[in-house]
C-alpha cells in the first residue's frame, strides 16, 4: 500500500505530486535534453562561478599557465577518484589507497635504485598495489564486515610496510618516470603543452566511463550497490564481483603511484597522504552516492575539477591555506545535502 502512495505515475502529470522547481522549464526542452538531470551539474556551475569571480578580482588568474597548474595538481587525485567511484557505486570504498599508492611508488623506486629496467620496475609497482587490492577484495567479500574497517586496517598495515621498506627515507630519483610525467607535452597540436599527466588521467577517465557503462562487471557494481539482496537473487555472483572490483582498484592505485612518483620525482610513504579521504570527497561532491547504486566517471570528474579550482582560487584570494580545508569541508557538506535533496 505505502509503495503506491509514494510512487508518482509518470504518464499522468495531473496525478503526480508537486513537481520539483524547474520541472516546467524542463518539459519544454527537446526530448534528449529533458532526460538530463540538470541538478547533477551543480559542481560545474559553482566552478564556473568561482572562476569568473576570481578572474575579475585578480588579473593573473585567468591564464593558461594557471589552469595547467590546476590540472597537474589534481590529475593523480583524479585517477584514484575514478577507482573510488567504481567502489562507491558498488557500496564499497577503499581507505587504503593513500598508503597503497605509496607502496606502488616505493616498490618501483627501490627497484629503479637497483638499476632494474623501467618496465620491470613499473610492472612490479603496479603488481604490488594490485595484490593489496585483491586482498582487500577477498577480505571484504568473505567477511560481512564493512569495507570501511577492512580497508582501514589495510591502510594501517601498509603504513607500517611502507616505512619499513624505505626506512623512512624517500627514494629521490624516479628516472624514466620523472621523464615521462614530470614535464609537459609538446606545445602544439594536439597536446598544446599540457602537463604530461593529462594523458594517463584522460585514459583512466575514459576507461572508467566505458567500464561503468558497457562492461558487465560495471553493471553488476551498480546492481550490488543499489540493492545487494536483489542482485544476489538475480544471480549476480556477489563475492567474485567484489573481488574483481577491489582488484581493479588496486591496478588504478598502481597507475596513480607511477604518475605521482614521476611527477614529483620521489617515492615515499607520505607520497599520497589524505588521498583516501580526498578521493571519496571528490566522488561524492561530483554526485556519486556515498552508499552505492548511483554515480559515474564524469560526475566524479567534475568533483575533482571543483576541488582543484577551489584550492587554487583560495591561493589567489590571498588567504592562508587553512582556508582551503575549511572551504573544502563546506563543499563536502553541501554536496551531501544536494544528494539528500535529490532523493
Amino acid at each position: 500500500m505505502s509503495a503506491e502512495t509514494r510512487v508518482p505515475v509518470p504518464e499522468v502529470p495531473g496525478a503526480a505530486p508537486p513537481a520539483p522547481a524547474g520541472a516546467r522549464v524542463r518539459d519544454r526542452l527537446p526530448r534528449p535534453l529533458r532526460e538530463i538531470d540538470w541538478i547533477a551539474f551543480w559542481p560545474l556551475a559553482v566552478m564556473v562561478l568561482i572562476i569568473v569571480v576570481t578572474a575579475l578580482r585578480s588579473p593573473h588568474y585567468f591564464t593558461v599557465f594557471n589552469f595547467e597548474n590546476i590540472l597537474s595538481q589534481v590529475a593523480p587525485l583524479g585517477i584514484v577518484t575514478m577507482g573510488q567511484t567504481i567502489l562507491l557505486i558498488s557500496a564499497g570504498l577503499d581507505l587504503s589507497v593513500g598508503y597503497n599508492i605509496a607502496l606502488a611508488s616505493i616498490v618501483t623506486g627501490l627497484l629503479l635504485e637497483r638499476g632494474q629496467p623501467l618496465w620491470l620496475c613499473i610492472a612490479a609497482g603496479i603488481a604490488a598495489s594490485t595484490v593489496v587490492g585483491f586482498t582487500n577484495g577477498v577480505l571484504v567479500a568473505q567477511n560481512r564486515a564493512h569495507p570501511f574497517i577492512i580497508t582501514l586496517g589495510m591502510s594501517i598495515f601498509l603504513f607500517g610496510l611502507d616505512t619499513q621498506l624505505t626506512g623512512g627515507a624517500p627514494v629521490n630519483d624516479m628516472k624514466g618516470l620523472y621523464t615521462a610525467f614530470g614535464g609537459y607535452l609538446p606545445n602544439g597540436f594536439p597536446f598544446f603543452g599540457l602537463p604530461s599527466l593529462t594523458i594517463p588521467l584522460l585514459i583512466v577517465v575514459a576507461f572508467t566511463f566505458a567500464f561503468l557503462r558497457w562492461s558487465p562487471l560495471g553493471r553488476r557494481a551498480y546492481a550490488i550497490g543499489g540493492n545487494e539482496e536483489a542482485a544476489y537473487l538475480s544471480g549476480v555472483p556477489i563475492k567474485r564481483s567484489k573481488i574483481y572490483l577491489y582488484t581493479l582498484m588496486g591496478v588504478l592505485v598502481g597507475i596513480t603511484g607511477m604518475v605521482l612518483a614521476g611527477q614529483i620525482n620521489e617515492a615515499s610513504f607520505n607520497l599520497a597522504q589524505n588521498f583516501e579521504l580526498e578521493s571519496i570527497a571528490c566522488a561524492v561532491i561530483g554526485g556519486t552516492a556515498l552508499f552505492g547504486g548511483r554515480g559515474g566517471a564524469l560526475r566524479s570528474l567534475q568533483g575533482v575539477a571543483l576541488w582543484g579550482v577551489v584550492q587554487n582560487a583560495i591561493v589567489f584570494a590571498g588567504l592562508s591555506s587553512n582556508y582551503q580545508e575549511m572551504a573544502l569541508g563546506a563543499v563536502i557538506v553541501v554536496a551531501v545535502m544536494v544528494q539528500r535533496a535529490q532523493r
Binding site: 500500500m1 505505502s2 504518464e11 553493471r219 551498480y222 540493492n227 536483489a230 538475480s234 544471480g235
Partner: protein, 506 residues
C-alpha cells in the same frame, strides 16, 4: 459485566483509504479493561491496518479512536505509547546488545542524583516485573543470548513496564513451539487478572477461542461481527471470515493436473526446521498454488527451490534430475527462477532502469565481445515491457518511479528473461490494485500455456483460486491438502489452513 463498564478502547466508525483500496470501512470495536478480544480475518481483511490505526502508525481518514473516554487527538506511535497502548509484533523489537533490564527500562531508567543510571535498581525492578509474570529470565543477560520466545516475553514485559493499559499482540505464537505458546497463554490470562486489555490478533482460531472473551471478525475492511466467544464455534467463524458458506468454485474447468506432461519439479519427503515430510510435484504447463498462514512453510519451500536453504532430509528433482542448488546463480542456470515477495526490497534495484533490472538476470544475452550492447538491451527489455504492458515511459526509466503493480510486472519480466522452465512467485499480487491483479493472473496463465511450470505461493486464498490449476494447503509445515482448484473452495481451504485441528489429524 462488559456492557456496563466504560470501555477502555472504543474504535468508532474508523475509515482508512489507500490509493485504489478502502482498507477499513466504518469499523467499530470496543474493548474493556481485563478483556481479551480476538481479532480475526483473512489476509487483506484489514486487521493490520486497524492495529496500525490504534497504535498511531496511521491516522484514520474518518471516525475516531477513544481511549478511556478520551478521543486520541494526535496519531503517532510515540503518543500511543504515552497513552499506554503497546504493540508486540511477531518479531520482538528489542535492542539486541543491551541487557534485558536495559531494554525493559529504556526510556524509564531509574536514576540516582545528577541523572546517573541506577543499574542495580534497574535490574531489581526488572526482576520483580519478570517474577510477577513468572518469567524465568535473568535481567542481566544480553538480549542476543535469548531465544525468540523469550525475547517476545521481554517485549511484553517492556510494554507492561511502560504502564500499558492496552496490549496488542500481533500473531504472537507464530515463532513459538507448543510449550512456549502455553506459557504465553498463561501470561495473557494473568494480564487479564491485572485489568490489562488485550487485543489478540491471530490466524490460529484455536488460540483465539481459548483466550478471547469476545471475537471480532473483519472481512474486506468491514466489520462482520463481534460476538462473545461462547456464542460462536470455529466453523461459524470460518464462515464469517469467508463470507457466504457456499462459494461457487471460481476456477474455469481445470485441465486435469498436468495429465501426461512431464514433472518439472518434485519434492520428495523434504524436511527442514519448518517443513515436515513435504511431497509435491508440479508439471510443465501447470499453475500450482501453495497456501497456508504465515509460518506454515510456503516461504520455506520457495527458499529451498531457489537454493537459499538446503533440505535436512529428502531431495529435490528438477526435470527428473537431482537438484541441489547452492544459491540463486545455480538455480537460474538450472532453469528455475523465484520472484521474491517484496518487490522493492528484495527484487529490484531502484536506481537502475527498467531495462537494466530485467537484463540483470541474463547479462550474457546482451553482451557482445565482452561489452554490453545497450541497443540490444533496450530491444531485449522492450519485448518484455510490451508483452507485460509495463507502464513505463521507456525502458530507460528508473524502476523506483514505477507504481507497485508495475514494479511487480518488472519482476515477472525478470523471470521471463531468465528463461526459466520453473517459476516460483511469492505473493505476486500483494499490495497491487485490482486491475494489476487481473493482469498478473493473465500473465501467469499465459506462461503456463507456454509450457512453464508455475508455483504461486500466497496467503491470499481467494486470489489464488482465481488462476491456479491446483492448490496445496500447508499447515505447520505439512501438506494437509493437494487438490484441483475446481474441486475445492475458499471456505474449505480456509478451514484447512486456519480452522479446527481435525484436518491435520486425518
Amino acid at each position: 459485566m462488559t456492557e456496563t463498564q466504560q470501555p477502555l478502547l472504543a474504535v468508532e466508525n474508523v475509515d482508512k483509504h489507500f490509493p485504489g483500496v478502502q482498507a477499513l470501512k466504518s469499523v467499530s470495536l470496543t474493548l474493556v479493561a481485563g478483556e481479551v478480544h480476538g481479532l480475526v480475518g483473512q489476509n487483506g481483511a484489514g486487521k493490520s491496518t486497524l492495529v496500525k490505526c490504534i497504535s498511531g502508525v496511521y491516522a484514520p481518514d474518518g471516525g475516531c479512536i477513544v481511549l478511556d473516554g478520551e478521543p486520541i487527538g494526535t496519531y503517532s506511535p510515540k503518543h500511543a505509547v504515552d497513552l499506554g497502548i503497546a504493540v508486540v509484533h511477531q518479531r520482538a523489537q528489542l535492542l539486541p546488545w543491551l541487557s534485558v533490564a536495559e531494554n525493559v527500562m529504556l526510556g524509564h531508567f531509574p536514576t540516582r542524583v545528577r541523572g546517573i543510571i541506577d543499574r542495580h535498581r534497574a535490574n531489581q525492578l526488572t526482576r520483580e516485573l519478570l517474577e510477577r509474570f513468572r518469567l524465568e529470565i535473568d535481567p542481566e543477560v544480553k538480549v542476543t543470548q535469548l531465544a525468540t520466545p523469550e525475547r517476545q516475553q521481554v517485549a511484553i514485559a517492556k510494554a507492561l513496564y511502560g504502564r500499558a493499559k492496552l496490549l496488542i499482540l500481533d500473531e504472537p505464537t507464530a515463532a513459538l513451539d507448543a510449550a512456549r505458546a502455553e506459557r504465553l497463554f498463561a501470561l495473557v490470562e494473568d494480564l487479564q487478572r491485572h485489568d490489562v486489555g488485550v487485543l489478540y490478533v491471530s490466524h490460529h482460531l484455536e488460540e483465539v477461542f481459548r483466550l478471547a472473551d469476545r471475537i471480532t471478525v473483519l472481512r474486506d475492511g468491514e466489520l462482520v461481527a463481534t460476538r462473545p466467544t461462547c456464542e460462536l464455534d470455529q466453523s461459524e467463524v470460518v464462515t464469517l471470515m469467508a463470507g457466504r458458506r457456499l462459494e461457487a468454485p471460481p476456477r474455469a474447468p481445470a485441465k486435469a493436473a498436468g495429465n501426461g506432461k512431464a514433472e518439472a519439479i518434485v519434492l520428495e519427503a523434504v524436511s527442514t526446521d519448518v517443513l515436515h515430510d513435504v511431497a509435491l510435484a508440479v508439471h510443465a504447463g501447470e499453475v500450482v498454488g501453495i497456501t497456508g498462514v504465515i509460518g506454515a512453510g510456503g516461504h520455506e519451500i520457495a527458499r529451498l527451490l531457489f537454493g537459499l536453504d538446503r533440505p535436512r532430509t529428502g531431495r529435490l528433482l528438477l526435470g527428473g534430475n537431482a537438484y541441489a542448488p547452492r544459491g540463486p546463480l545455480q538455480a537460474i542456470d538450472r532453469g528455475l527462477f523465484t520472484v521474491p515477495e517484496d518487490a522493492a526490497g528484495e527484487g529490484l534495484v531502484p536506481w537502475l532502469s527498467v531495462a537494466a533490472n530485467i537484463t540483470l538476470v541474463d547479462l550474457p544475452a546482451i553482451t557482445r565481445a565482452g561489452l554490453l550492447s545497450l541497443g540490444r538491451e533496450r530491444a531485449f527489455a522492450r519485448r518484455f515491457v510490451d508483452r507485460l504492458a509495463i507502464a513505463a515511459r521507456s525502458p530507460d526509466t528508473p524502476v523506483r518511479t514505477l507504481s507497485g503493480g508495475n514494479q511487480q510486472k518488472v519482476l515477472l519480466a525478470k523471470a521471463l528473461a531468465a528463461e526459466a522452465g520453473v517459476l516460483v512467485l511469492e505473493e505476486p499480487t500483494q499490495g497491487v490494485d485490482v486491475h494489476a491483479k487481473a493482469e498478473i493472473h493473465r500473465i501467469v496463465r499465459a506462461l503456463a500455456a507456454e509450457g512453464k511450470a508455475v508455483i504461486v505461493i500466497s496467503t491470499d486464498i481467494r486470489d489464488l483460486l482465481e488462476f491456479v490449476d491446483r492448490v496445496v494447503a500447508l499447515r505447520d509445515g505439512q501438506v494437509v491438502e493437494d487438490v484441483a482448484a475446481a474441486e475445492t473452495s475458499y471456505a474449505e481451504l480456509l478451514d484447512l489452513t486456519v480452522g479446527a485441528v481435525k484436518a491435520v489429524a486425518s
